[in-house]
């Protein structure tokens, strides 16, 4: 599984308008709906469930990244939106630091292997200093997509 298999290029938000966690989640779900990758009828439910999961345990795992996610039976394939914040968002992260890169993940129900594979590819990239740095330096959605393609082709160092 590669990043470009699951990231929706039309739902890459290079400059998030929101600076609060809950609004950021809504902004990314809206981006997925607008790009046709998520059903508009599910919009409110998806946001609610992502936040419910988030409140149980922050997905702000440190180093300025967060991976809010939800499994839903109406989701047919792994779907990822990316949002970058210039100023940082409080995600109640483990290291108490602001979050600058958010990967929002929608998973189908009943596909645990797929979900784990998606987590693996996301985390193996987010754990790299260079990847996180280039992500933060991205100015446009195209910059981000190019970075993801480079990462998938393993042209980035650690």
């Amino acid at each position: 599984m590669k990043l470009m298999d699951i990231v929706v290029p039309g739902a890459v938000v290079a400059k998030l308008g929101s600076s609060e966690r809950d609004e950021v989640v809504a902004e990314l779900v809206d981006a997925l709906v607008a790009s046709g990758a998520a059903d508009a009828a599910l919009r409110d439910t998806l946001i609610e469930q992502v936040l419910e999961r988030e409140k149980k345990g922050s997905t702000g795992f440190g180093r300025g990244v967060a991976v809010p996610h939800v499994k839903h039976k109406a989701v047919t394939r792994m779907t990822v939106a990316i949002g970058l914040s210039q100023h940082g968002v409080d995600f109640n992260a483990l290291d108490k630091q602001p979050v600058y890169s958010v990967f929002l993940l929608l998973s189908p129900e009943g596909q645990p292997e797929q979900h784990l594979e998606a987590m693996e590819v996301i985390f193996s990239n987010l754990s790299k200093d260079t990847f996180r740095r280039f992500l933060r330096q991205s100015e446009t959605a195209q910059d981000v997509v190019t970075l993801l393609e480079e990462a998938d082709a393993q042209r980035l160092g650690g």
Partner: protein, 86 residues
């Protein structure tokens, strides 16, 4: 070195990974979790998430330090029991 089998249906996703890291962090021993040839620091959530261990996966738990035995035993219990999920 101790082995454990991932017991729960959803495998080592975010919540169990966090539980493992929290538990490992409670011990002073160094904790290494190995899946095949892939070795990670059991106290790092980013690294443990990269294991992506599905149900039934065998993990090796290697601990080093004063409370290594207790740490390995506790982590094995957590993994074998399926993280109290199912």
């Amino acid at each position: 070195m101790v082995t454990a089998k991932v017991g729960n249906r959803l495998g080592l996703h975010a919540r169990p990974a966090m539980a493992l890291v929290d538990l490992a962090g409670a011990y002073t021993a160094a904790v290494t979790i190995r899946k095949g040839t892939h070795e990670v620091d059991g106290k790092s959530i980013m690294q443990v998430m990269m294991l992506a261990a599905t149900q039934g996966t065998e993990l090796e738990i290697i601990c080093e330090g004063v409370d290594a035995e207790a740490a390995a035993k506790a982590i094995k219990q957590l993994v074998d029991s399926g993280f109290d999920e199912d």
